[in-house]
Subunit: 499 residues, 4 copies
């Protein structure tokens, strides 16, 4: 039995990659314009495609597009066609393979109660199992996203009798959504919208982030606080794990319909995914990364002439490391910000092109120096090998690599695009073997306890870890149902379609 | 209660417009290339978009595109991606409004038994009623086509116990499709494909055409015989009204699962829709149109110097008229074949631009002459007014208009895009009033009996007309369920989406 | 020494093809909208690309586009950006090869006297010779069109002293243009525009057409009268061979600066190029084609059951033939009007696809009949072979082919895209050899004298033919300078550029 | 008399903007692939469009495209169509207005000696004067670039007798190019290519950079060394001011045909234009910027809690400042790297959107702190105002702005896109007035002497400055011919064309 992770779809990925960002606003005259800006601020969470659905009191209006938010939604005609005071949106990760507009969210469907648009960040671990059941009941799947599974569950859900819904807000519809969510295993931060209300929901473990904001009396749901900042909106609070919020003209109502469990926020959001200026779960990401760097300097000090980050993701930790170690911080690697689409390697004689399209070693700074090179993580290790070679080629005397996360030994199944376990450098190698592979004079990772300390805990609770740290520890807090049932992964379809 | 016909979607249509063409081939190495060519030959049945789905033994492969068949499917890369020895395709009518790729067929869905692709020509008159029921059962609609209703009926159908299916061909699946079709009211000529077989079906009244052909041992289903001719395929026979054919590796099996009813082939296929070189229901269309012209000359002779067709649709009837009347046939109106997309009228001073973009009066031929002007039908009458004015402006002495069909007094609900009844010139005017409106010296229509005679019957059977002639007679042979139930027309959706 | 004609660029062309159409209007508020419509009416003279340049009193505004006029210039934004009361435009022929926007006219250049836009129909036979001289003087060529040669000649021309220009109209500029035109050998119908006036010019032999029209006080220049009709403009007169007209706010002035020569209008304009509704050189084209057909019936009568045209170009002659021969006229071949871009033949087993994409034999009409098949001309003969085979395949008893022009034995170098001489079927074969090649029971061409009779002359004047008939006779009235000097054809460039 | 600088074309620019980058390689099997990569590394010098011309021994091959290098030239089909062992390329700056493919370089033209492709970085100050003369001689201009002026000068130049050319390399052609260059006033770093050789040239003052590199025996010319690094090519030397190098199969020849003058390299290349990893005129740019920061800390120390750069251009100077001042370096502003095309401000209530699309203040880091904010320069000041407001809004206690260049008081006319003098904040304000305008607690600029010290001189030589520093000093070392003659700027054209 093989556990297939999603990155088979893409090329030789050498970063973990957040799969989505969501945004919604209810009660604002420029709803869709604000969604477009919010999605732009969340662009780091997904660059494959973006979509917005608005509701104008009569009709839902949708626009979906492949590419960056600013490529399509900067068109005033597009924005003005998305009429209405409520709108939700979604950005989606990039893969090199079968990208199709059909999979760009929000998904929209019509129910007996009217329309529903839904945008999803996360990954269901029982999607294939649920899909098989739904298809056998007569449901038809037209996309290859988990999200369509949620929509079918809502469509086929019936209002439970026992539970008493909140009196004012479309009780039947909300209860059917809850009924659907109860069947899900996996992770989700959802933003949905009907003709009457906007809904936000986080899975009981709260693996993926979701925050609540406010602007001019309108309420906002977003993956990260940086999407509030771009609008000048104020941060209200995090949506709690297992919480469902219903936002309508009468304001916000909070439901907690699930059995409470210990929360398991994704610790990798601090390491890499979230934007440095965001606050997630109450903690500023830049500050956390600096403390990770400082902790790393304590645990893995290296005598050197300077600290050099692998830009841009290694910069905050490198600053923290340099400050704690008392070493100068230097831009020893310069990044080309115009990368855009990938160049095809045009000729065999141009080696290591991939990394050079994006990075160049700063010879004048590095030549003859002992360098501490700080990166956020090592995934496949291919980039590290090339960067180290590049730095050595310009004459670095020593290269000491320091990594602002523990060795990533396991794939993620909770909404992150990661290589298969066998392709993770750390999955089958000791630190010394990795050091030799990468070709550095020394290699050091922060410990998992050190990482916990940097984000505010004394140490990892061995029995009940405070975060989901499965990629480091292999302890998966949420059942991998499809995997254990040998189910075909949900995203594989009988249909191959382009465009 | 207002009966809304479909042409509200489009601009001020002045032709009845066939809504679709279908094509399928089973058992040929170049299956998708042949489908592309067949669809090209059926392009007159729909210019909005085209799609092809093939099955390669493992996977279904789909390509859909807005625009003409030759704009997209002439790309060898596209054709070679549509692997497999079985493929079906569809061309779809043009509207000026909300055209979207989402509605381009064939539709594809996954079921418990595997994948199914389906292409549909026709219109269901109980689609809204069925959709309401399906949505209340939890079905989700993602397009605005009738065809999706059929797919959901198949998905939710269960195998009936009583009936014994043919032993060899995927009996359960076929029975479920039959079960679904039994719930439909309206018209359909369908081509569908599963992993095991291709299926063709015509509604019990046989309103829309569907023929069977053969090429190199492969079997073909197509809307018209002209799609066989382009491939050099031979015509086998018409699919009978109410017949379902199953084509698989073992050959063809025919089922007739419906209660037999008197057939009602659309008589307008002879008047306008079908291509002149096609044979429909055993009759050559060009010959039928010539006989209509000859019959028209007998019924409505006008002393004149020449017979001039409104090109191109009036040409065969005008030839028949000229031959029967002993008058010269002349191209008094020249057509511009490069019309493409519609010009926006750029300035108020350019009047009657619409007709001039396509037609120009041939002054040298017409000036000073008495002209019999032959057209296939009058719908709104707007084009007729402009063409007559154009002909008078170049000096025609007399204009006698002759129409190769009876007055069109009623909308069609059986798969043809027609204006609302109130917008049909003949719905509220006598022939004399129409004559004055159009501005001709005389106006004559063929009688309904004359039309029947031209296509091979002595006269129309008043109790049981041999054709569907509802647009002329107002006698609708198939129940207009949605209309009588006051149901929202099925094609209206809560979602407005572009692109 | 090889005489290379232009069609090497394209695919296996089987028609002579007019290379361009021009249109200009001076003094109208909707100038550019009218140019767009005029070009649309001239679309049959060129489908590769179209361009419009307007002058708004301060600035010239340009739009050029590949494709059909209606694909780009139906956009109101495009038209409204082409401000001004004077505008000229151009349509350009189609080739399958290296089409580039750089070659789409009108050409624009800045001179010491200001801007000049120019649109050209015709072909210079000393362009390469002139280009070599101009380049050696320091001129830089950026396109591969003859027209740029004219522009450079204007740029480098100096005002001649001797001649007295008309007092009021930009005399120096006009004289420089005349000076430039005097250096040209070959054919041209030009429309040009400066900040002060619009200019029309025809070469001294008047090979290509150019007419003058009037609308609401504005003056119009166009290749054919059909471009006047679409606007409701009135025809004033033909521009005379060797005439230059200057149109400005004060009206029209006519100059005849060249030594007078006997005019040589292209007789093929009657056979095929011009639209049937146009009047060229005072003669209606449809009428001329009917008379050609009638003359052909007299010269080459065949006992038969019907006359069938090769659509659409053979239709008028076939009508004339049928009327003169007393045979029924029948549409025995049906044309598909949605041809668009060419299909790639997708598989070897689909033979004769090319012709079937466009034509289908009407089996019911033709089977068992003796058919006179009328076409306008035979070029390579490839299409004729396929059409005859197609007609035989549906059971025609006899096929008698009649051609409404004499055998085309020579290439054209005067603005028409023709195959090389060796590729012309008639260049090396007797009529009997051609008959066998095409596979017909009999083959007949109209005589050159018969053609002259049909267009209004008793017979061809052997010493001084009234038309250019070089493609039939091999007598080239205008010197083929580049050819005789062994000069590299002007359109070949050192630069290969796409897009 | 108004001195119009180029930025009138663009929007409200708030950066000086380098106008172009050039690259060429001679003698490499993958010539065009290497040009594409070199241009990608030079993308910061121009983002509007890119072009490559290669020569394959027979023909020149060209591709030009709007947008980024990697958007078009990553297509293997494009690269493989650019055959040949010699190729040159160009990237062009971005304007928001009338961008057109016609202006994308390299320019190509045919001469009596064959083809010539040319790519130009710089700006001619006598282009309008030269253009007027050339037009009066009969030259035709089809683009609006200075470069076309150079091409016409080459076309019209004649070989001077007196000078003896180097024996082996196309002496006549080279002499004509020299003759043309001698007529130019202004700045240029050129790369050109004929059928026989590649040529590099820098103007006598050497204002814009140009370097020579080597790879696998092939010689390379590039604007900056970072374009060598991406290929793994080695740096050979700078092309000297006033030097012309001729590179052909026999190697490199150097000519110095101009009267020697003191060189005036653009000091702003160190401040902002060049990439930090490049060496220009022998000095590493990152190191120079760090020293500028350190010098600035000495001259303009501010007591504070941290140093925050305006990313990305302020980073190296901020690092240097922080190190010299002994203050922590912090990322107080986070940049969004997905900016792409500009968003239209969708609603009035979204204020200061422009800066927020790109930057967000890092509240957790800044709140309650005294901040030294380091930027490379102040142009209009609009961005500074918004960034300072953004930082104050998140609670900065004090904001001390430090600028790594002197006040920019004058426009540039030497190949940089700058606002008009009146729009430069410093042109009419004291530092105190600027401080109030920007809203900071203190504002300090490095002195011009300090800037000279940082790039390696003891002080600015008052009589003969070692650099062009006109934007700071107002002393223009090269004549502004067009300006003093009141000539229309060369880039204004009579023609407005899109696309």
């Amino acid at each position: 039995m093989t556990l297939e992770s999603k990155s088979q779809r893409g090329g030789p990925l050498d970063k973990f990659r957040e799969e989505c960002g969501v945004f919604g606003i209810f009660g604002h005259d420029s709803a869709s314009a604000h969604v477009a800006l919010g999605l732009h601020a969340l662009q780091h969470r997904g660059q494959e495609g973006a979509g917005i659905v608005s509701f104008d009191g009569k009709q839902f209006n949708a626009e979906r597009s492949l590419g960056l938010v600013g490529d399509h939604f900067n068109d005033p005609k597009v924005i003005s066609s998305l009429r209405g005071r409520a709108a939700i949106g979604h950005v989606r990760y990039a893969t090199t393979g079968g990208t199709t507009l059909r999979n760009v969210q929000p998904l929209f469907a019509e129910f007996d109660f009217g329309g529903l648009a839904i945008a999803h960040n996360g990954n269901l671990t029982n999607a294939a199992t649920l899909k098989r059941e739904l298809v056998s009941k007569g449901c038809i799947f037209q996309s290859t996203t988990d999200t369509e599974t949620i929509v079918h569950l809502i469509a086929t859900a019936r209002e439970p009798r026992a539970m008493v819904p909140p009196a004012t807000v479309s009780p039947g519809v909300v209860l059917r959504i809850i009924e659907a969510l109860k069947q899900l295993t996996g992770t989700y931060s959802l933003v949905a919208m009907t003709q009457n209300f906007m809904l936000g929901a986080r899975d009981p473990f709260g693996v993926r982030p979701l925050v609540l904001g406010q602007l001019d009396g309108a309420l906002i749901l977003a993956s990260e606080t940086c999407a509030l900042d771009i609008l000048g909106a104020s941060f209200v609070r995090d949506i709690a794990p297992g919480e469902i919020v219903i936002i309508d003209e009468s304001g916000l109502k909070s439901l907690k319909p699930f059995l409470p469990v210990a929360s398991k926020f994704c610790i990798f959001e601090y390491v890499y995914f979230s934007r440095p200026d965001s606050f997630v779960e109450g903690t500023n990401v830049y500050g956390a990364r600096q403390r990770i760097g400082a902790e790393l300097a304590k645990e893995q000090f290296a005598p050197a002439d300077m600290v050099v980050p692998v830009p841009d993701s290694g910069v905050p930790a490198a600053i923290g490391y340099a400050q704690a170690a008392g070493l100068p911080f230097e831009l020893g690697i310069i990044r080309n910000h115009y990368v855009g689409r990938t160049f095809i390697e045009p000729a065999a004689q141009i080696r290591h092109l991939g990394v050079k399209l994006k990075h160049n070693a700063n010879r004048a700074t590095i030549a003859g120096k002992r360098v501490v090179l700080v990166d956020d993580s090592i995934v496949r290790g291919t980039t590290s090998v090339k960067i180290v070679e590049m730095i050595r080629n310009v004459g670095a005397k020593e290269v000491h690599m320091r990594i602002a996360s523990p060795p990533t030994t396991n794939s993620c199944f909770y909404g992150v695009d990661t290589p298969m376990k066998d392709d993770l450098l750390a999955s089958s190698r000791s630190v010394e073997q990795m050091r030799q592979h990468i070709g550095v004079d020394s290699l050091g990772f922060i410990s998992l306890d050190g990482l916990y300390r940097a984000v505010g805990f004394d140490a990892r609770d061995a029995k009940q870890p405070q975060f989901c740290d499965a990629c480091f520890s292999g302890e998966y807090p949420i059942a991998l149902t499809d995997f254990h049932s040998g189910e075909q992964p949900a995203q594989l379809s009988l249909l191959a379609e382009r465009g």
